[in-house]
Each structure stands twice: as structure tokens, then as C-alpha cells.
Symmetry: C2
Subunit: 347 residues, 2 copies
């Protein structure tokens, strides 16, 4: 009896790595065309069929992608991720894909669930969010040849060389635009109200403010105008008091929760004009209270992620591969602080 061809035997016959054969099946765009053709010919000639123990190598698609649903912390900032999930589900639906969502208390549990889902639910791949530096999830999935796209860059020293595809929103460009807008309005002592150190997204949003403001203020002044607090309305109000004490006349914030707290303090400190406070995420709360905010194009991000995923799953007729690393610019939504019925005004 001739033994069934396996991934390993195919790799040996071709003189390529197991990963290359896996990629030829799961992520053909990662394999050089010449190699791809050789692998495909041998697969076809050998009668190789992925078995259930090597389910990640299946060619049959379940048209179902996995997604970890993070708990929404204060109901304000979580809104942007819920918006992303709605957009992702709707874009995927256009191509008859569904999303399997799950909860996990931490990254280890998330990875464990990947394993269970691949085993039991036959998923085609995963969409990851909340990427961190040295994220253990991406390596785990790559080792197993499981297709995935992240909303969030790898935060490595060279994100462009990243071996897996990602789409992210350029938070730094957003806070720089907000800071430049406040500079144009005549402000110089513009504060930054962010989170404590150690959070990549927070560092990125801080960087845009710093870059835009550093032609105007020295390092010591910049230091005194940057405050990091836990996310929340009350925390934002407390942080804003520090900034006001240090002479800030305006503030760019890392979230709408922080900005809501800051707005109250800036309104009290400068009662004769709308608070010069800009939030981040353009949540429904910001719109309702007439607060300016930086809007993340999560609908566009979802569309790009779906394009990339379809190419990885060999499901796209598009001969032009979409770019695999994309940083999308956010948009500054200006409002006059005039309250619930105020219309957004153009920049």
C-alpha cells in the first residue's frame, strides 16, 4: 500500500520547506510564482488531500473567520471597535463570509481558543485587533499557516517588513492634524492628555502631538504639557487640571472619555469660549455633546482587510494584489461645542 502523501513528504520531494507547501495552499501570494507552480503540480499529481489532522491545510473553505470580541470598558471608547465589527461583518457578507466571535480573558486564552476553533469549527482564518509589540498571537498563527490579517500594525522596528498583512489607522497623523489645527487657531501651549507609558497606541498618538508642537516649544515645556492617566471621564478631568495648572490653553486627547472630562475643566477655566479640546474616536458621545474629535476610518479599514483576506484565501478574482501593509489617515471632525444639536462644521 502506497503511503498517503503528506505535507512533509511533498516538501521533501520538492526540496522546499514544509512552510512553503503550507503557504502554497493557504497564502499563495507569499510563494514565488515558479515555486508555487511546482508545488501545485506535485499536489495535483500526488493526489494529496489535506486531512482533518492537518485542517489548517484544507482547501475547502468554511467561509467563516474568527474574531475575539473584547469587553467594552466604559461603553464610550468601545463604540469604535463595535463600529469596526459591524463594518467587517457587512463587508464580509458581500462575499458570503461570516464571523465567529468569542470572548477571552487574555491573550493566552485567545490563542487557546484559536486552536479549539480551528479544530472544531473549521475556520478559514482570523481577524486580530489590539496588536501589541511582540504579540504572541501572530507567531502562533504563522507557525500553523493559518491566514490572518490584523487591524493594528506589529509595532516593530520595521513594520513594512512584517511577514503578515496588517491594516492600521495612523493615530499619530490624527493628533498631529489636531495639534496643527489648534496652532492655526493661535494656541501654543497645547496639552496632550493620554494614557500611562507602555501602550503602543498611546505612544503613537502622543508622537503626533509632539512632532507638531516641537517647532514651537522646548523639551521641558513639552514635558510639562503631557499627562498620562488611566482612561475615563473622571481621570480626564483630573489630568486636565494638571495641564491647566501648567498653562495649557487647549488639549488634544487620546480618547473621547478623556476629552469629555477635560472639556468640563476647560469650560470652567475659560468660560467665555468653547473648550479647545479635541477627542479621539469620534464616538456618538462626542457628536452628541458637540465635541471635536479625530475619527478613525474603521469602515475603510474593514474593507481593506476583507480585500486582503480574500486574496489570501484565493477567493478574489483581482489579479492586482492589494497592498499588505496599510496605514490609513484619520479625519479631524470639528464641532463648535454648542451642544447636542450643533452640526459638525467643515475644517
Amino acid at each position: 500500500m502506497v503511503s498517503r502523501p503528506t505535507l512533509a513528504s511533498l516538501a521533501e520531494q520538492l526540496g522546499v520547506s514544509r512552510q512553503t507547501v503550507s503557504n502554497a495552499i493557504n497564502a499563495p501570494e507569499r510563494v514565488r510564482p515558479v515555486t508555487l507552480e511546482r508545488v501545485r503540480e506535485l499536489i495535483s499529481a500526488s493526489g494529496y488531500r489535506p486531512n482533518s489532522a492537518a485542517r489548517q491545510l484544507r482547501t475547502r473553505r468554511s467561509r467563516n473567520l474568527g474574531f475575539r470580541l473584547f469587553p467594552s470598558e466604559d461603553g464610550i471608547n468601545g463604540a469604535v471597535m463595535d463600529r469596526f465589527l459591524h463594518a467587517l461583518t457587512e463587508r464580509l457578507q458581500e462575499y458570503d463570509y461570516r464571523v465567529t466571535i468569542f470572548a477571552a480573558p487574555d491573550v493566552d486564552a485567545e490563542i487557546e481558543t484559536y486552536g479549539e476553533l480551528l479544530e472544531t469549527s473549521d475556520l478559514d482564518g482570523f481577524i486580530l485587533t489590539d496588536t501589541r509589540q511582540d504579540d504572541p498571537r501572530t507567531g502562533w498563527l504563522m507557525d500553523r499557516g493559518v491566514p490572518f490579517v490584523t487591524l493594528g500594525r506589529p509595532w516593530s522596528s520595521d513594520d513594512g517588513a512584517c511577514p503578515y498583512p496588517w491594516v492600521d489607522i495612523d493615530g499619530s497623523a490624527g493628533t498631529a492634524e489636531a495639534t496643527n489645527y489648534l496652532l492655526e487657531k493661535g494656541h501654543r501651549r497645547i496639552g496632550f492628555l493620554g494614557w500611562p507609558e507602555g501602550h503602543e497606541t498611546g505612544r503613537d498618538r502622543h508622537a503626533g502631538w509632539q512632532t507638531a508642537l516641537s517647532p514651537y516649544l522646548g523639551a521641558r515645556e513639552l514635558d510639562s504639557l503631557s499627562v498620562g492617566v488611566a482612561d475615563g471621564i473622571r481621570e480626564g478631568a483630573a489630568g486636565a487640571l494638571t495641564l491647566l495648572a501648567n498653562g495649557a490653553t487647549a488639549v488634544v486627547c487620546a480618547s473621547d472619555s478623556l476629552a469629555l472630562g477635560a472639556s468640563e475643566q476647560f469650560r470652567a477655566a475659560f468660560p467665555d469660549r468653547p473648550p479647545a479640546v479635541i477627542g479621539f474616536d469620534d464616538t456618538p458621545v462626542a457628536a452628541a455633546v458637540g465635541m471635536s474629535s479625530i475619527s478613525q476610518p474603521v469602515e475603510d479599514a474593514a474593507g481593506k482587510i476583507v480585500e486582503i483576506m480574500r486574496t489570501m484565501l484565493d477567493d478574489s478574482p483581482n489579479p492586482t494584489k492589494p497592498p499588505r501593509h496599510l496605514l490609513l489617515p484619520p479625519r479631524l471632525v470639528l464641532r463648535d461645542g454648542g451642544g447636542l444639536l450643533a452640526s459638525p462644521s467643515a475644517a
Copy 2:
């Protein structure tokens, strides 16, 4: 060669309907114990195994439930459904169940997707929301013996006799409590700001206000104090103007969007006191602006739905069946209108 037993041949041998055999496998609590035992004995003796063409009759569980994700219309009122989805996912995760979400433009497309998902993704059942009178989805699922629970009552003449399980939130009790609170505060001309006719949820919320207020006002007065508009902040503001013109001093609203618009008008009409406006859903926006609102216990509803679903899937060791029809009371969350940093105060 002996032909394989099928659902139909089992039903014929037992002299019961095909549906009864299906129920014995998928929803054993719907079958009389004596019949259940007969069906199970024959299934066991016959070597019957559900095949893929009769996938809905499988005994192997995918531990995956389907859920249609509705688009969030204005980002304010959708928050409560997103809260429900988070809670549902987390409660199900405790028992190793996942949720497969999908988008659908309408109910027909939703039903079509049920069929596809049962065929391709091997789902154990569905959680339905946004139930309407004569909802075609529930009949479709019952006809096929597919387990499901709805968040939302059937809105029939006798919801307690409904053949399928549902959990709902007693909107009428919520608006009655809000109206009674305003009555205690000395208001009599309390308006109701709801949606146009034809929406069961809207009618329910209207009914609570009407019941609480009818001992104090005549039918004509009640009529003049009830306005139905499309959901939205601006629409709420317009509706509130009508109510103010008709002498309203306070208003109970069917949504927080409507209440946000009404708040602005009531603040302008009664500048010396916080607006006597109560919203519905206790969204993050209501909390941020210090607006009172009726809070739906969607986390409790998710927990109850999971209990019922586990019993239906024969996955619960609990010998006491949970009640299959549950109307949960909402809670009035009072706030002083004092703005972003105001704490919620007890009733």
C-alpha cells in the same frame, strides 16, 4: 443490503410525525416523556445516524450559535444591542459556545442565511432579536426543528402560550416607572415622545406611560401629550416642541436619541431647572450628559437566554428547567442633568 434508517422511516415505524422524531433529537423538552423514550430506544436500536443532508438532526454539537448583527443606526441606540452581544458572547464562552454573526439586509435574507449556515457551518441554533408580530423567522426555524431563543416576545395575543422560548424586557414597566417618578415629583402634564405607529416595542413603551398617567388625565389630554417621530436627536427636538406647545412640563422618551433632542428644548423652555426628560436604554451618551434613562438588563437577559439554550441543547446538568418565557423588569437610572461628571443618584 438493508436501507439506512431515515427520519421518515423512524417516524413511520413509531407512528409519530417526522417533527416529533426531530424534536426528540433537537428539543427533547418538547416531547412527552413516554414518546421521547420510545423514539430514543428506536434510534439507538436502529443505528440511525444523522447524515449531512439532515444536518439539523445531528447529535454532535458544533457549540456555535448564529446571530444576525443589525446595523447600528445612529450609534446611540445601537449601543444597547452591542452590549447584549458582548454579554451573550461572554456568557456563552463560559460553556465553550461561540457566536457566528452575519449581516442581512432584511428578514428574508436573514432566513436565507439561516439555511446556508445550517448547511455549511453546522450551527447548533440561533439567537434572534428584533422580533415582530407574525415574525416569519420563528416558524421557519420551528418547521425545521432548529433550536432558538428570541430576545423579544412574539407580540401575539397570548405570549405565554408561545411554543418557542423567549426572553424580553418589560418596556411598559419601565416607562410606567419613569412616569410615576415624574408624577411623584409633581408633574401631571407628562408627555410621551415615541415612534410612529406600527412598531411593537414603541407601542409597549407608550402603553406604560398611558397606564400610569390615565388616572390623572383624560383621553383627549393623553392624545395631545403623545407624539410619534422617527428616531433621532433632531426629530426628538422637533417632537418636544409639539409637546411643549401642548403644555407638557416633563417627558418620557422611547429612546435616548429622542431624549437628547428633547432635553435641549426642555432646557430652553424651563431654564431655571434641569430638564424633566427621561430617556430609554441608558446609553453611554445618557451617562455622559447626566440624563436620566431607563436601563435594560441585557446582561441578565443574555444569561437567561444561555440557560434556556443549554437546556434545549441538552447541555445543562440542571434538572430544573428554566422558565421558557421571561419578562425582565428594567431599572430607572436617575441623574441630575448636571453634566458629564455628575454621578448617578439613587431613586
